[in-house]
């Protein structure tokens, strides 16, 4: 029972982990990307479109291509969204909050529009896109997982994207804290004028980190459709997971390694109502609020403790002008 709950929690948490890792990388460059929910939708629908067209074009799926095509489509789609965000906020210095919110609305719209219309391309009676064949490949487990009892359930029972999420978070954490690139990136987010004076290309760092961050976040959307939802696209099915991943960024105080544990905790809070017997709908909704409550608590605690390391990057949300006389 406990093993199943943990398993469900990890699966719930994975999209959040992708989203928050991507957002942390972006925020470390000083950009608050509120477009993450929209980017995750676009990532998902791009992957779905790629998989759908590939499934339609051939009767026999090549397992490698079945994974590779949606993956690449997802990365390109979400990176393109990141690029739009960068162009507006870095190059044109538009307001980051407004740009991000616009991208979210735009991205969700794109997702729902193509999610609803792709199905019209083929003559079927099914009401929504179902990519069960591709999904099965995405969900392939390590062969010996089911022979290991609860241990296998907790650690080895997931599709490969779950492990990718954790590895990406760990790599991000390492890069941010232990490498020169990470040092430079953090300096850009903390004090772009200092970075500029030290000869760091501020614009380049902002673009690269935001685009890579968007691509990572997009994978969260892909994981949700292909793995968690068994390849079934339903409009608005992704729900508020995008916002939850932004909340997770704050919860994990801008540390990707902490956000691995945070994502599992958020996932746990998300699934726990299903395992409480005789729960009413209203209580269930109260439970769904918990991640946000926890995030607010973290915000309150870090603000009270006022430790500099636990604060957002100092120039988060501010456009950078090189001062000229």
């Amino acid at each position: 029972m406990l093993a199943t709950i943990i398993q469900r929690a990890v699966m719930q948490g994975t999209p959040l982990l992708f989203g928050s890792t991507g957002e942390i990388l972006t925020e470390k460059s000083g950009h608050l990307n509120l477009g993450i929910p929209g980017i995750m939708y676009v990532g998902a629908i791009s992957g779905v479109a790629g998989a759908f067209l590939y499934e339609q074009s051939t009767a026999m799926l090549n397992p490698f291509l079945a994974v590779f095509i949606p993956l690449i489509c997802c990365l390109i789609g979400s990176m393109f969204m990141g690029l739009i965000y960068c162009f507006l906020t870095v190059t044109l210095r538009a307001n980051q909050n407004v740009t991000g919110l616009a991208l979210t609305t735009f991205g969700i719209g794109i997702g729902n529009f193509f999610g609803g219309s792709l199905i019209k391309l083929v003559d079927t009676d099914v009401p929504s896109i179902s990519l069960s064949t591709t999904s099965v490949i995405f969900k392939t487990q390590i062969p010996f997982a089911n022979k290991m009892g609860w241990f296998g359930d907790v650690f080895f029972s997931y599709g490969f994207l779950v492990y990718v999420a954790i590895i990406v978070a760990l790599i991000s954490s390492y890069v941010l804290n232990k490498t020169r690139v990470g040092l430079h990136l953090r300096s850009v987010g903390e004090s772009p004028e200092t970075a500029d004076a030290a000869g760091i290309n501020v614009t380049k760092y902002k673009y690269v980190s935001t685009c890579i961050g968007s691509a990572i976040a997009g994978l969260g959307g892909l994981y949700y459709v292909m793995d968690y939802a068994n390849g079934v696209w339903s409009n608005n099915g992704f729900g508020d997971r995008g916002w939850l991943s932004i909340a997770l960024v704050i919860f994990s105080v801008w540390r990707p390694s902490l956000s691995i544990l945070g994502s599992i905790l958020f996932g746990f809070l998300y699934v726990i109502p299903t395992y409480i017997p005789n729960i009413t709908v209203s209580t269930k909704i109260l439970f769904e609020m918990l991640p946000y409550v926890v995030t607010i608590l973290v915000l309150v605690i870090t603000s009270i403790r006022d430790k500099k390391e636990n604060q957002p990057p100092a120039s988060l949300g501010l456009a950078y002008f090189r001062e000229e006389r």
């Binding site: 020169r180 040092l183 970075a195 004076a197 030290a198 000869g199 500099k308």
Partner: protein, 520 residues
């Protein structure tokens, strides 16, 4: 042929628009030498050094490093020629450690090894006698430690020519002594050092030669050993120029404002006002002279009730009720109602007092919005006030509904000063009201101040131009480092006298008293 001269500038000229920041400046600094660049505010010291460090590009003139002609077009070039500049405002990332800040931006083929870097930093600190913990975070550091990080930053990059922009401005006397010891060690190891300063005693105790700039012009270079304070002061402030500003005799003067031993410590813990006492009389213009940032702003804000005072009192003799009131216990609004007006013209003209996006009428209402009785705005009287100011002060504007930020600087200042005068004050404080104005506008402002003086207002005028202060003011108070270094009569004082008082800082006074002047 390698020469002993590390850096030489020949006939450097730089203009910003129509303002000449540097005109035919020629200086040179040898290896193992400390050169001071001395000058008042706005004399072009920092501009000159910014050209050496690649931030600006000179309009004409030549630069030589080790005797070879060079072009420095960017900070990167300067770095390649081993020139390192330590700015007055530190460029450091707060949440990083000292070591992280020092290596920031460096490209290193040998990978990223923090322990290795820390070892190298330790070598530098040991060599020159710095006191620094490489793992300490910047936000936990004092100003002097931050400066140390900045200096090590340029040394770490292998700089041979170091330029320090007013390095002692933010330091305590003890820290200054420490810094000078370090600089002397660097001189011994053959580095060429340039310090920009306006403190005479530092120049005399530290440097080998002094180059003097005045209003962008290069006056000359002298050997420190062959000069003295009064010669340097004369080079720095120049001869008096007559401006023909009219000055009437004060009439019926009485003490309006008595400031008694006020002390103020700012948020960084620096004492910005130190036992300041003076009296402002009605029908008189009291000038305040001093190097920028010596406490002028805090002093005026203290009187207006905007600055928290640690100690002392500000007594106001109310001419209407003939009573004496202590302004320290009052809120800024109460102080304003007594007739004390502050027309502060800060570095950015719109920063204090006016809202750029609002039009002239709305800005007039900023001072009178409390008078309204109904819930709706009454724009009639502020509108006529705006029209009156535009008319009287010859403000150039398309209409009263033009946003203030679209006006030129001079017109903005006229509106600000005009609005404060319109409320018939008893005390009028104006800080740098003519900064950036052309001659005609400046005279309009002088006339306004004179007019107020004749009406019996106690005028306090903070100015930069000593010639103006000497012709406009009845008395001139000089402050240096938050202390009053002297109050002189505007009619008899000389420029040199004021110049000397200005460059006298608090720590020097203490040293004078103690008799132990740290000198080599």
């Amino acid at each position: 042929m390698k020469s002993n001269v590390a850096l030489e500038l020949k006939n450097i000229t730089k203009t910003f628009g129509s303002v000449v920041a540097n005109k035919n400046v020629s200086i040179q600094v040898k290896k193992g030498e400390i050169l001071s660049i001395l000058g008042e505010n706005g004399s072009g010291k920092t501009t000159l050094m910014n050209m050496v460090s690649g931030i600006y590009y000179p309009d004409s003139g030549e630069m030589f490093i080790d005797g070879d002609p060079v072009t420095i077009a960017s900070p990167k070039d300067a770095f390649n020629y081993k020139i390192g500049m330590i700015h007055q405002h530190f460029k450091l990332v707060d949440v990083f450690s000292a070591a992280e800040n020092i290596i920031l931006g460096l490209e290193d083929k040998n990978g990223f090894n923090m322990t290795e870097y820390v070892k190298k930093i330790k070598e530098i600190t040991d060599l020159y006698g710095f006191d620094l913990d490489p793992y300490k975070k910047i936000y936990e550091m004092s100003v002097s430690e931050k400066q140390t990080v900045e200096i090590i930053k340029v040394l770490f990059r292998g700089a041979d020519i170091l330029i320090l922009d007013e390095p002692t401005a933010v330091l305590t006397p003890q820290e200054t002594v420490k810094l000078f010891a370090v600089l002397r060690k660097m001189r011994e190891s053959g580095k060429a050092i340039i310090i920009i300063t306006h403190k005479l005693h530092e120049v005399l105790s530290l440097s080998d030669s002094v180059a003097v700039l005045r209003k962008g012009e290069y006056i000359g270079t002298v050997k420190t050993a062959e000069t003295n304070e009064s010669q340097l002061t004369e080079m720095m402030v120049g001869k008096k120029i007559s401006l023909n500003i009219e000055r009437s005799e004060p009439q019926n003067s009485e003490d309006r404002l008595v400031v008694n031993k006020i002390n103020c410590i700012n948020r960084e813990g620096v004492k910005v006002l130190d036992d300041v006492s003076f009296t402002a009389r009605s029908g008189e213009i009291l000038g305040i002279a001093g190097i920028a940032g010596s406490g002028q702003r805090e002093l005026l804000e203290a009187i207006a009730g905007l600055q928290y005072l640690n100690d002392g009192e500000v007594l106001y003799n109310n001419p209407k009720t003939k009573t004496t009131e202590n302004l320290r216990d009052k809120t800024p609004i109460q102080i304003r109602q007594l007739g004390v007006r502050l027309a502060f013209v800060p570095e950015d003209r719109l920063g204090m007092g006016l809202v750029g996006n609002m039009d002239i009428v709305d800005n007039m209402m900023l001072r009178s919005y409390k008078k309204g009785k109904s819930a709706f705005l009454q724009r009639k009287s502020p509108k006529s006030l705006a029209e009156e100011i535009i008319d009287r002060l010859e403000v150039v504007t398309p209409s009263t509904s033009t946003p203030v930020r679209r006006l030129s600087g001079g017109n903005v200042q006229k509106i600000l000063v005009g609005r404060e005068i319109a409320s018939s004050p008893t005390v009028l404080m104006a800080a740098y009201p003519v900064r950036g104005l052309d001659i005609n506008s400046s005279y309009t402002i002088y006339n306004l101040l004179n007019e107020q003086k004749q009406k019996g207002v106690a005028v306090i005028f903070v100015g930069e131009d000593l010639d103006v202060l000497l012709e406009l003011c009845d008395r001139i108070m000089v402050i240096g480092g938050g202390r009053v270094t002297g109050i002189v009569d505007g009619r008899t004082a000389t420029k040199e006298e004021i110049g000397l008082l200005m460059t006298k800082t608090a720590d020097e006074q203490k040293q004078d008293k103690g008799g132990a002047v740290e000198n080599e």
